[in-house]
């Protein structure tokens, strides 16, 4: 029996995340309760160190939960083993990082195909090329990341995040490394593709104008939703 409302895709219950360093342990999240509805867009705002990225990465299954529960479609993910979390990510989550994180030894097309290769899915180059066309990189298919501009690299990252048609799309400060013009184009692209793919978008940003584009906004301060 589901413990969630019907259209809730992610649910966090009293989530605490402690980050350890050599010197100290930082309490990044201090009891987050959150419901994220499917096919919606939600922005996470807050100043530096408020816990925005930590919250997004906890939902992505990249950050371990110290205390509390995280559910994806009613299924607990907070106690999954590392390989099960990898499986969860590969099937359900697409991530766009601020610093693109493309593999430098692979072309744009190979980078886009990578999630399919990892999940051992059928690789259809046509689908990947079409996606690259959608993000405006029709002529950059065989280019390596170092041959692309910052904006182009982020477009490849967007295409890669959507190739597996994930239900959740997490964008962690996706325009942080881009100029104003590129930022605008990338954001428009993310929202357009989110709608097309019917994904749930979780956008981490400190830019209120971007946050306002989302259906819902939550603000974090000192590890708590305010």
């Amino acid at each position: 029996m589901s413990i969630m409302k019907q259209n809730t895709i992610i649910k966090l219950e009293n989530v605490h995340v402690n980050l350890k360093s050599n010197v100290e342990t930082i309490k990044a999240l201090k009891g987050i309760n959150l419901n994220i509805l499917a096919n919606r867009s939600i922005s996470i705002m807050g100043h530096s160190g408020a816990g925005k990225s930590t919250l997004a990465m906890t939902i992505a299954g990249l950050e371990s939960v110290t205390e509390g529960k995280v559910f994806y479609k009613g299924k607990a993910i907070h106690d999954l083993k590392e390989d099960e979390l990898a499986d969860y990510r590969s099937k359900n989550v697409g991530i766009i990082f601020q610093s693109f994180n493309l593999l430098p030894s692979m072309t744009a097309l190979e980078n886009v195909n990578l999630p399919l290769e990892i999940s051992r899915d059928f690789i259809d180059d046509k689908k990947s090329i079409k996606l690259l066309e959608t993000v405006g990189l029709k002529n950059r298919v065989s280019h390596y990341p170092h041959e692309l501009s910052g904006g182009e690299q982020q477009r490849v990252a967007i295409a890669r995040s959507l190739i597996s048609s994930p239900e959740i799309l997490i964008a962690d400060e996706p325009t942080g490394n881009l100029d104003k013009k590129n930022s605008k184009e990338v954001i428009e692209l993310i929202f357009q593709l989110q709608k097309n793919h019917k994904s749930t978008l979780i956008l981490v940003t400190h830019d209120k104008s971007l946050a306002d584009l989302c259906d819902e906004t939550i603000t974090l301060d000192n590890g708590l939703i305010i």
Binding site: K20, L62, K81, Y88, S90, F97, S105, E117, I118
Partner: protein
């Protein structure tokens, strides 16, 4: 095939991804590939060469033996009835071999060299051909003219005595002409027992030299090819029964040579294996360095949903690909060696040599290569499990999820078992394989423990906040998380170099001390009993009689131990050589100088009873003999039985006269025999003068310089040490891969550090001095650990394996301790140089 196909299809994805991900990274593996290449190449080359030699020997046994059968005897000519029987039943050729001195008459004092004299008759060689180079042309056969005393010599002797074809030299009591240079001698076998170069003469010339006097150590050989291949030898066996004539056939003729090849192969293969194991550290460093650079890529793969095993497999396939790049060329070059040297081997050992490819050495070296590579790669590779995808956002210090550990542990144990199995197979010696592994294991444990200890101490201590010392300490312990990797990577190579250096210096010192304090200067052999008093008189007027040590000597064969034929005995491998060939016996009622009795007592000085024998203690133990046991031996065709009366400690290292078997005074002393003597004097001129007087007065006596023999051994040792030192250097250099990768990875942090320092007002000079101190400290920690391990390992090796006093040369040690701090600091600062020109604000804005 189906399994392989399934395996291939299953792993096809990893293969493709591995190769894509490996693009542009080959340069990172130069040292790794070189390390693999050297080790696998040595094992393949030595294995192939050994197999080829054994194959050739099997096919050329008759040529190497010089006939179908060889009969040999020492001191005495063959009985007439034996010769007659052989002549009636086939072709026979007689050879006489002995050691003597050859003197050049070009300048005074005459240059002299000990030579291996071989006198042959007209029928020689029965099989194969002799090739000599004379003044006229290169000839493929020699006709030895009985009326002219001519000799043929080895090329080496020409250089040693500065003589050439046509020169007159002195051999025994006569002058002879150098007629030609021996290019190829068909029945010549390589032997460790060879003292000098070959001199070939006719039987008549040997008689003319006057060297053959009763008691001279002369070996007679008869080569025989029967007219009828199925000739029954029972009559011949009866004729030689009870004599000291031994019979060899083509089946048992080359055993000694085969043993020699096997031992040499084992020794060089061990060098190859140790090289490969040492290279393993280089491989490990290379992989570690590569993976440090790939941390981000691994995190990206994991963030996209790649499982730990998938990532592990991707990088494992990459490594396998790199291994192949080292192993395949090594195999190709290794199996080419017999082909490359075929003409040389043909000239020296066989009339013709056709190299072949053998699968066994390829399989063995290939297996060794893969097992060692995997063993040293698997641990750094397993670290991929520890890289978390969150690393893309921040450095994670969460507890490592170690689901992998058991599988990896089992795989490592499996690889170690494979390596043990292969080593035992290679060495045929479990004890030796055990020693190799235990010493390597202990060294690695010591390295890890001492590094952890140093870092623990650094973590515990603290200096005043804000001081340079505290900043450096924190930088090493806290911020620079890779310091430990740098220390471990460099310490392995340096501790190896220090160990080798200490062992080499201690050995050198021991050799130097032995030569100067214990070992005699010269050996004199083939002294006639009538000449010993005259030699003593010469000694009185030069070196003094105290510095002359002489013993009578006869050679004989052990035939039975406690009434059991030696052929039927199973004895310790280490002492088999005692029973294999003729051994020297001496006698007397006085206990030899510097010999310590281990068990039993020495017989009285006037003892005249049944024959007693004193035997080397270790040999006695190896032969399972104790006091009261009986040894039967054959000397000059007569059998003697002696009872063991005591055992002695024989110190071979003192290079003096050491006899394994020392008999009590008996009738043996009346048999024709020779004396052996040693001389020693601190005054080298006086010592050389004594030698000159003895050998010029008695042309039958040969002298051997101990110093020259030691020089030959030392040059061989030095050659081996150079090989191992080179490998150690490669290992040390492989540390650069790790350092380079670490510097690349930490560049971003260092850039940030520079920016912060600049904002706070620090000038580049101050930042450089801070980094200088930081890298110097890391270098010194590595040096200290290396010295600690190097000294401990060499101490253990010298005390327990070599039984040699540990010697530490402080100057060399100080020089070694400076290598790493200087190298690490210069390399790191040069690599980081461009960071000093960065714009601080730009950097700080871009930082995360």
């Amino acid at each position: 095939m189906l399994v392989l196909k399934k395996l291939f299809l299953e792993n096809n994805f990893f293969l493709k991804l591995s190769i894509k991900e490996l693009r542009g990274s080959f340069n990172e593996f130069k040292i790794v590939i070189t390390s693999i290449f050297i080790g696998v190449f040595i094992i393949t080359a030595v294995g192939s060469l050994s197999q080829n030699l054994k194959y050739q020997i099997d096919n050329k046994r008759s040529e190497l033996l010089g006939g179908t059968y060889e009969l040999s005897t020492t001191y005495q000519e063959f009985p007439r009835d034996v010769k007659n029987w052989l002549e009636q039943n086939g072709k026979v050729s007689q050879i006489v071999e002995m050691r003597t001195m050859l003197s050049s008459l070009k300048s005074l004092p005459y240059k002299r060299r000990i030579v291996e004299l071989k006198a042959v008759d007209e029928n020689w060689p029965l099989i194969g051909e002799i090739r000599i180079k004379s003044e006229k042309k290169t000839s493929s056969s020699i006709k030895i003219n009985e009326n002219i005393d001519k000799i043929f010599i080895d090329e080496g002797l020409k250089k040693q005595l500065n003589i050439s074809i046509g020169d007159i030299v002195k051999l025994g009591n006569i002058k002879v002409k150098v007629e030609g240079i021996i290019i190829k001698e068909p029945d010549r076998m390589f032997s460790f027992a060879t003292f000098g170069s070959r001199v070939l003469v006719s039987s008549q010339t040997l008689k003319n030299t006057g060297l053959m006097v009763p008691g001279s150590l002369v070996k007679y050989k008869l080569k025989f090819i029967p007219n009828d291949k199925r000739l029954e030898l029972s009559f011949l066996n009866k004729l030689i029964e009870g004599t000291n004539v031994s019979l060899k056939n083509i089946q048992n003729s080359t055993n000694n040579f085969n043993t020699f090849i096997e031992r040499t192969t084992l020794f060089i293969s061990l060098v190859g294996l140790i090289t490969l194991l040492i290279s393993g550290v280089g491989i490990s460093n290379g992989v570690k360095g590569y993976l440090i650079k790939k941390i981000k890529n691994i995190a990206i793969l994991k963030s996209l949903g790649a499982k730990n095993t998938q990532v592990f497999k991707i990088y494992l396939f990459q490594m396998l690909f790199i291994f192949l790049m080292g192993i395949i060329p090594a195999l190709i070059f290794g199996i080419s060696i017999p082909f490359l040297f075929s003409s040389l081997i043909g000239d020296k050992l066989f009339s013709s040599f056709q190299a072949k490819i053998f699968m066994e050495p390829i399989f063995i070296s290939c297996s060794f290569g893969f097992v060692v590579c995997l063993l040293f790669t698997i641990i750094p590779l397993s670290k991929t499990y520890e890289i978390k995808p969150i690393h893309l956002i921040r450095i994670s210090r969460d507890k490592i999820y170690n689901e992998y550990s058991n599988k990896i542990k089992i795989f490592i144990i499996f690889l170690i078992c494979c390596l043990c199995f292969l080593t035992i197979n290679l060495t045929s010696d479990i004890k030796l394989a055990f020693y190799i592994f235990v010493s390597l294991f202990i060294s690695l444990i010591m390295l890890t423990l001492s590094t952890n200890l140093f870092f623990m101490i650094l973590k515990k201590i603290s200096f005043k906040v804000g001081t340079i010392k505290e900043t450096i300490r924190k930088s090493i312990v806290d911020r620079n998380t890779f310091s430990k990797s740098i220390v471990i990577s460099f310490s392995i190579g340096l501790s190896l170099l220090i160990t080798l250096n200490i062992v080499q210096e201690s050995l050198d010192r021991k050799i130097y001390n032995t030569i100067n304090q214990e070992a005699p200067d010269h050996f004199f052999i083939d002294i006639q009993p009538s000449q010993i008093e005259d030699i003593k008189k010469i000694a009185i007027n030069s070196i003094g009689t105290n510095n002359l040590n002489a013993q009578p000597m006869l050679r004989g064969r052990i035939t039975k131990l406690n009434n059991v034929n030696v052929e039927n005995l199973k004895v310790d491998k280490e002492v088999q050589w005692v029973l294999r060939r003729d051994r020297a016996f001496t006698w007397g009622n006085t206990k030899p100088k510097n010999n310590k009795l281990i068990s039993g007592e020495w017989w009285s000085s006037d003892y005249n009873g049944p024959l007693l024998v004193s035997i080397g203690d270790k040999i006695a133990k190896g032969l399972n003999l104790k006091i009261g046991d009986k040894i039967e031996f054959n000397i000059l065709g007569r059998n003697f039985v002696a009872k063991i009366h005591n055992t002695r400690e024989i110190i071979w290292e003192n290079m003096g006269i050491n006899f394994i078997f020392f008999l009590s005074d008996s009738k043996i002393k009346n048999a024709p025999h020779t004396w052996i003597a040693t001389s020693k004097n601190q005054n080298k001129v006086m010592s050389a003068d004594f030698v000159e007087k003895v050998v010029s007065k008695f042309s039958n006596i040969s002298s051997i310089s101990v110093e020259e023999s030691y020089k030959a051994i030392r040059s061989l040792l030095k050659f081996l040490i150079i090989i191992i030192n080179t490998i150690a250097f490669v290992t040390l250099i492989s540390g650069i891969i790790v350092l380079n990768s670490i510097l690349d990875v930490s560049k971003k942090d260092k850039l940030y550090e520079v920016a912060v320092f600049k904002i706070l007002g620090a000038n580049p000079k101050k930042i450089i001095s801070l980094w200088f101190c930081e890298y110097m400290t890391i270098g010194f920690i590595s040096s200290l650990i290396s010295i600690l391990i190097g000294c401990s390992v060499s101490y253990i090796l010298l005390n327990y394996l070599f039984n040699i006093e540990f010697y530490l040369n402080y100057i060399t040690l100080i020089l070694f301790s400076l290598i790493l701090p200087i190298f690490i600091t210069i390399f790191s600062l040069l690599k980081m140089l461009n960071l000093f020109y960065s714009k601080p604000l730009k950097v700080l804005r871009a930082h995360y």
